[in-house]
Amino acid sequence: MQMHRIKVKINGKQYEREVPGHRSLLHFIRQDIGLTGTKEGCGAGECGACTVLVNGKTINSCLALAVEFDGAEIETVEGEAKNGNLSKLQEAFHRNHAVQCGFCTPGMLMSVKSLLKVHPKPTEEQIKEAIEGNFCRCTGYRQIIEAVQDATGQLKKKEELKRVS
């Protein structure tokens, strides 16, 4: 099997590796580089668990070949926390209970990160559209939307639950 030498920057760090043509970008990131934050869900572009940013744009890394990305800049969930401190977005997810089982979270964060580059104060509709390719099977979408609103200073104070007597 012919090997291809590729150089990529992942979360600001340069990597150089030999890959066979059929290696998916997802498996390259997880197995060759060892960054296992990015998850494999469906492997078919439906669930978005494998979402990473390539040159600033989100893609499903399961549906991409590593060899296609020679020279690219890739961002994954591992690029979020700095020196042991969560990013503002991660903190907002934490604070708003937007993480349940956590499997969708790395991909969800990447889709939201991409949204915030274009719309720093997104509307609820824009948030929903941005995460339409990311499935959350714990069904915490409400909390995820609120986390994004919180991270962008738009979360209205939640109404106290009224006691029903």
Partner: protein
Amino acid sequence: MHHEFEYIAPRSRTELLATLKKFGSRAKLLAGGTDLLVDIRVGHSVPEAVIDVKYIDEYCKIRWSAEEGLSIGATVTCVDLMGDKTVRAKFALLAEAAGHIGSPQLRNRATIAGNLCTASPCADMGCSLLAYGASIELASEKKTRIIPLEQFFTGVKKTQRQPDEVVQRIIVPAAMAGARGAMEKLKRIKGHDLAVVSVAMVKTAKTLRVGIGSCAPTPIVLKELPASASVKAVVDEALRTVKPIDDIRASKEYRLAMVQSFVEKLMATLK
């Protein structure tokens, strides 16, 4: 990917066509990969080689000329099309249709030509480009040919493309620039989903063209009608032409009802 294959990325059109001739049906062409890599993963496709067409400069361009019309290169993605100023100004329905495809992640990679080459009956670009009367340009080492899009589709996931041919671009006639267009797509959920039924309508001063998806083995187009056609005439023509089936997403009867409903709605929109 479980199946192993060679990856080849030709740097010129000449090299690409020679590689295609060498491998023929043993190779698959790669643009956005959002359909191909799923097919390979599930074993529907077992190519010896995957040929990446993204390094051919001329394929990544969207061009407009008053003589020929709009030319959409083979590797233009949904997001490229959605963001293009000429497309938005002159062929707004195409930008809208591209926005109906998949999710943001998929639209960043998936190409317009790839959507046509996959030739799914529900192809979102299929019914809209058919409504615009688009043609498609195919090239092999032997010759380059341009055929109307309705002839390109030959069956479920089948096209006229030969194993040694590559789709180079899609051409939308200049006469359709500025035509009013609208589309309706029925999905099971509000997020990304394949069309249960889709109808795209394009109206010029003289003509009315209607493309329909998920209601026949391929996306289809009704015979061209006069712009003055009555709602009833268009509905009748649509119901005569479609051949929907029962499947996992909907029944035949529901599809027929939705075709009628969408045609009526779009006729009102484009009144």
